[in-house]
Subunit: 594 residues, 2 copies
Amino acid sequence: MEETLGKLKRTHYCGVFREETAGEEVVINGWCQRMRNLGALIFADLRDRTGLVQVVFEGEGNKALFEKASAIRSEFVLAVRGTVRLRSNPNPELPTGKVEIVASELRILSAAETPPIYVEDDANTSEAMRLKYRYLDLRRPKMQKNLLMRHRIIQSIRHYMDEMGFLEIDTPMLSKSTPEGARDYLVPSRQRPGSFYALPQSPQLMKQLLMVSGFDRYFQIAKCFRDEDLRADRQPEFSQVDIEMSFVDEEDIMAINEGLMGRVFREVLGMEIPEHFPRITYREAMERYGSDKPDTRFGLELIDVTNTVKGTAFKVFADAIAGGGLVKGINAKGGAGFSRKEIDALANEVKTYGAKGLAWLSLSEGGMKSSFAKFMEESEIEALKRAMGAESGDLLVFVADPNGTVVNTALGLLRLHLGEKLGLIDHDRFDILWVTEFPMFEYDEEEGRYVAVHHPFTHPMEEDIPLLTTDPGAARAKAYDLVMNGTEVGGGSVRIHRKDLQLQMFELLGFTEEKAQESFGFLLNAFKYGVPPHGGIAYGLDRMVMLLAKVDNIREVIAFPKVQNASCPLTEAPTPVDAKQLEELGIRALEDKA
Amino acid sequence: MEETLGKLKRTHYCGVFREETAGEEVVINGWCQRMRNLGALIFADLRDRTGLVQVVFEGEGNKALFEKASAIRSEFVLAVRGTVRLRSNPNPELPTGKVEIVASELRILSAAETPPIYVEDDANTSEAMRLKYRYLDLRRPKMQKNLLMRHRIIQSIRHYMDEMGFLEIDTPMLSKSTPEGARDYLVPSRQRPGSFYALPQSPQLMKQLLMVSGFDRYFQIAKCFRDEDLRADRQPEFSQVDIEMSFVDEEDIMAINEGLMGRVFREVLGMEIPEHFPRITYREAMERYGSDKPDTRFGLELIDVTNTVKGTAFKVFADAIAGGGLVKGINAKGGAGFSRKEIDALANEVKTYGAKGLAWLSLSEGGMKSSFAKFMEESEIEALKRAMGAESGDLLVFVADPNGTVVNTALGLLRLHLGEKLGLIDHDRFDILWVTEFPMFEYDEEEGRYVAVHHPFTHPMEEDIPLLTTDPGAARAKAYDLVMNGTEVGGGSVRIHRKDLQLQMFELLGFTEEKAQESFGFLLNAFKYGVPPHGGIAYGLDRMVMLLAKVDNIREVIAFPKVQNASCPLTEAPTPVDAKQLEELGIRALEDKA
């Protein structure tokens, strides 16, 4: 029953037909979205990546054709020749809804069993089924749109980078395992049994070498790999837009990237964004938003009331202050209407963020309610209300802790929760900003050493170089993140280009000279032979697409994603392999039956 | 001594200065190519990716500046402010040779030790050293040019494919190990100990699924992997331009690809190539050129003289014919001047190609010489000369064998050798052609079964479908290779889109239904739900760049290539890893000390 395409090659895509096309003889190829047999007429909606059009088979015409058409089912692949005509009952929901194709010839190119999932945008299908039958799921217009947008974004990036004089250079996938960073995916070597390649976590070292090589401006859209347990916006393999340039400082790098974002938004979304993005230091971001990736689409900023409540008898506040900590609050405008149950839920929430509890005070027309007002003087409460800019209808929430970071972080997360709950987030808006002056290091209690916040190649701010010897924890980096709607989309830095400074960094990070040589020897060697000042940035492409496509799951913008345990529901990878394959690699799986 | 860039950011690249620029104050950044201190003057040539320009420091001017300049050595990284002026002694070899920059300010951004290899195009450096110090090797103008060309080629490909409505969609690197094809690189799974991902040998199955998904036109420049022993034009990881389209036949696919090549040649080399490429069937290519990737830049075609010498007493020819084989020759025009030693070398050569020997006959003014004329009648010799179109000055060479394939292959290789030796190959020319009608299968004596010549998803020619049951070895495929100057640059086919035919293929290839399900189950399942006719092609990008850049080694067009044993001389990958890493993956290396 299945036929070849033969001469029935399409003349038009399905989605293009309009009133003006009426009268033309056309050939279309596509999938049957649905078929209705009305006895005298058969309607079949034909779908391709551009849309749907109605095809009609008329019983009064060609009997053989009509009979053949009666075999059509959903998802059959068809080639149809016919004439476009105006519909007597136009469908205003469909771009092609004013016309239909009256079929004169039909070929059934491929039959289809009843598909296990509906090929429809609003079908309520579990993600497990969608991923198992991904080839059907990808037929849905939404998924087609997402991947089309992904294509447009990468095209737009490449055009711009090329115009700006950046060369795309691909760096090895079979690379070297290096310490620092996340867990590597390893690839056993057959020719050197016992040795392994690592799949790159980023092309960081290679792109720095390309700067040493004088390529001046490099970019790449590279696959990167991290063997970590997955979260909603992580995949074991992900795409990184990787950029590096020489003879520049932070200003040059930010300017290029502002241009890049402007181009992508213009070409992909048809939207103008500001030529320059606001900048906020890490410290200010933490203080005002309790986050190093603040969502600035709404207010609810954190207000420091430590001084306001200094000297209070309320033990929670007093203890925090005595311990050198902070008392901070958020004025949840209009939150006075929250029920006691809702407020308790907020309190539970901040506990999961590490705070000991939530102090609150609501001001409604019926009067003030509070979890702590009874422990404070009336004048103190008045001062607090003034500091918080409180009005009737507001809910004030406070966190106090001897550890200021706990206060900021907990309130920062609560702020996001409240922004959503109070409906303050404009989801049509894109707020893009730079977060700058990140700390160089954070102290890893577990390992008992400093670790790099960005990576070990990040240049300290010039004025903070002396701090590397006196107070490394206070040193700030020439590092910057690009934050969009509260998500870190990219991050970069000016790199160290002096060998002595790079060695000092490794020392600070607890590397012996031997270990530094073993792990990064080729970079340190390269640094002997003339290194330009350089810096760059890397974007998480998948996240960028996710934000621009306004979906909330990274799997919606990846054709064949992995799930939680890093497996692929479609191909079932990873799978056991033949014993012979392992033997050739000189390895043995310890749990063959796992 | 090393300084920051500060305000000395470049205003111009080094290679742009011409007479017209004289008088301008400029800032340039780059590497010192060489420095000459003449006592009263110091000259330093500054290099960046655009070229070189001469900088002069004048002793009579700023003393401090002059003293600082005297510290400059080769490969120091400098920032120089200065004024462009006309040179009193122009250097016609240098595009910037009419001018020089008189320095007024200098910053030494990075010092350099004496580099272990020369940063010069004609430096006679071993490849081992070049790859170990790749970051220096890449500073050479030739390597910069090669990678710039690579960038331009991929940009050109992407523009064209986008214009033609192809979406670039990336498919997983962590994929599933499948039989058929080369040896996989495996990646152990931490979350499923004992299971492995495979790095893709090509995105073949995924791109077919994308067609099943209705993406209609797909492309990708994808990294692919084969764990095979390397040859000069192979790398363990390589880049593939991967293309697939739906609702098409061979003609559509070839037309799109002719357009692609035309675009690349025009944009990258500024060269027009024919709109359509000549086509030759596999069979004709083997008969005329002894190769399925004929180099048509020169003649020396194979001439079948089996019938001409039928009945001869010369045993070598007679035996070949009696055994059902062939006698074929090449007229090496002008080869009569070869010495006996040279001819013996040719004879030895064909033996390494599998032939038993070489029969030859030379015609010079001094008369005829031959290895076999004495065994044949004069009339037979005359007939042979006529058949070969022999004239004075020619050398005729013959191979005879009961196995015709041996004859064609040996002469095909000898032909290439002779073309080179006789200087017949025009290295400025690009001959591009399609080789079509490849056989579906070849019989693998070792495995005792048919294997797919292209791959198991290749559609047989419609008229040869019945042969699948009667004589599979005779069935031809809807497959085509794109051959450029005797190198296979791309290959593709129309794919099977019918489940029954696909199952028949697997059966022919010796797969049990169970094994087919286990290995390709997701494809076979997808084939149940409506598959469009589809086909595509894949190019070896590295080879394509190699040909366009006119270099003879694939490593010249890859930034960080691997060598023979698949290791990287720069990073030393693959390397041993921490025992903890292997433990987490649930594997053990059997030869830890290898």
